[in-house]
Symmetry: C2
Subunit: 339 residues, 2 copies
């Protein structure tokens, strides 16, 4: 076996098939890890001639007290609220937060990872966005926590998300309980896992309440259709085609608002003739006329969980039970559109 | 006179009462400046023993190809759109942009100036926010460009803004042309100069068209009232008090939407009984039902002007005619609420 002197903690973690945090715990003999893990990590360390001195030095690396935050689009209220909560959390802990907007552009994302790396940030939070996180371009072992995004290499991933499946189920159940029998779903035709999970929840609720799934009521926007305009279009189409429906679950609030405006401009009364529910609980859902019921994700809790996790990883603190995935509950907010 | 050896270009600029860019032009004998300016700058340079070598070194300082962007609140569509445009502009020019959200908190703003300074950004754009820019804490001569914000020390300030006065005038004129005689204004009770200028434009338009100013139609929200809720409240109050009005100029679109919802819930028809116009042209104004007329600020042009100016300052390029203040035109967007 070829011996490398300059192996990093990250490479040790990869070769031992454990996280960077675990390697640092083994090196420092500090915190929880199994005997099997200890043996495996120490074998790699020995094979590659890594010394605890080097490890200690690497762990004592000067902290820059800054955190990078990668976000697909701050021009989206849900993301911007999450960003503000995370920013506040870190600011209270004496960290500056550099927000990097990628517009879901892969080239930008890579450039920002490089910038954050060269500016010596202590950690990175990645919100949603493209599937693969370009961790291979990082030159340092920077802890990363994801929100609503699973990096390809699951073994290294810490991530936090809402229970989107449960949200889809609860939204559909709310419409059923208010008497709806023919419930349309307005979502997006993408493999993004949050939309897929919300759709699954919708289907399961229909099934559990003995309602039939109906392909013509499954309205999936394509990438050319914006949320609000697209939703308005598909609802207008449904009405024009004389396809009957008495409830609509839109998988985000801008889509729900597009549905509402589409119904109102066809003189269809909400909630008397058709009931509507959205997802996210952004401002438009409470301020529309009538107001729109929705599924609320707990943004402060999402922000706190992800931020605390990153803070622990940056400080090499013990991550409880080596938990990597955190799923937070959601709740129905009932407003005029489902009364 | 005490001689200092380590005087910076910034200090020379201050002592000569000219900009840093002008000092660098004089030193390099490159670009426009008056003979009087040259004499003044060279006297300071001589008095303080500054050498052109030092200047050259300082001007050749390594560039980090990053820019800092200070924004009061990304959770505000108008700001977030501006931020995205600026980000795109710099990314195309091979710069990374670190967005720093201050929540209009002075302590945060100072902390972010320090972070950006220590991370060696090449320049800073400041959008709106608190009155005084804490430039005194910067350890390097970093060019700064402001948008909708005038730093206290005007001699050093480059700034770009929309013509808010003209916007207030045009909005009021639109209501007058559509037949309104008793026009209310819903704005904010703050010394923020953009609101003050919009109010002045409103008053001038009333005057020019021979309409009376009316204190009971001047509705200024206080700091406890949010834009949407506050506007809805003051309109409800006006209706309850039986104060007649047939037009409302709201000085931003969320206030205009609050006015619209307040009218609708009192069964007052828009635009038949009361016409409404907003400011900013954010998404809610085009997507409300009925849609809301508004004053459009040219966000791409604001972003481009500020970004190009900063890029020129960072590259020590010639700033045309030493212009420091850039005021961009606005336009009326007519929608259903003033038809």
């Amino acid at each position: 076996m070829e011996k490398k002197k300059n192996i990093s903690i990250k490479e040790i973690a990869k070769l031992s098939n454990v996280s960077v945090a675990t390697v640092s715990r083994v090196i420092n003999n500090n915190g929880r890890f199994s005997e099997k893990t200890r043996e495996r990590v120490q074998k790699i360390i020995k094979d590659y001639g890594y010394t605890t001195n080097m490890a200690a030095k690497s762990l004592r690396m000067a902290k820059s007290k800054t955190v990078g935050l990668i976000v697909p689009n701050i021009d989206n209220e849900w993301f911007s609220q999450l960003v503000l909560e995370i920013e506040n959390y870190f600011f209270k802990n004496n960290y500056s937060v550099f927000i990097c907007n990628t517009s879901q552009n892969e080239e930008k994302e890579i450039a920002y990872f490089k910038s954050l790396d060269s500016k010596m940030v202590d950690g990175i939070i990645c919100i949603s966005g493209i599937e693969e996180i370009p961790t291979e371009i990082l030159t340092r072992d920077i802890p990363i926590v994801c929100i609503d995004r699973k990096p390809k290499d699951h073994s290294e991933a810490y991530y936090v998300e809402s229970n989107h499946y449960s949200g889809g189920y609860l939204a559909t159940e709310e419409l059923i309980r208010q008497g709806c029998k023919r419930i349309a779903i307005v979502s997006r035709n993408k493999t993004l896992s949050v939309n897929r999970q919300r759709l699954e929840g919708y289907k399961q609720a229909l099934k559990d309440y003995g309602l039939e799934e109906n392909k013509e009521l499954e309205l999936l926007l394509n990438s050319n259709q914006a949320n609000y305009d697209g939703a308005r279009e598909v609802i207008n189409h449904l009405i024009k085609e004389n396809i009957s429906f008495d409830g609509v679950f839109a998988t985000n609030d801008w889509r729900a608002y597009g549905v509402l405006v589409g119904l109102l401009e066809n003189d269809i009364q909400v909630p008397d003739e058709v009931k509507v529910i959205g997802f996210d609980d952004i401002f438009i859902s409470q301020s529309s006329h009538p107001s729109i019921s929705t599924i609320k994700q707990n943004i402060p809790e999402l922000a706190k969980t992800a931020s605390q996790l990153l803070l622990d990883l940056m400080n090499d603190a013990l991550i409880k039970d080596e938990q990597k995935r955190y799923i937070l509950p959601v709740e129905v907010i009932r407003r005029d559109s489902t009364k």
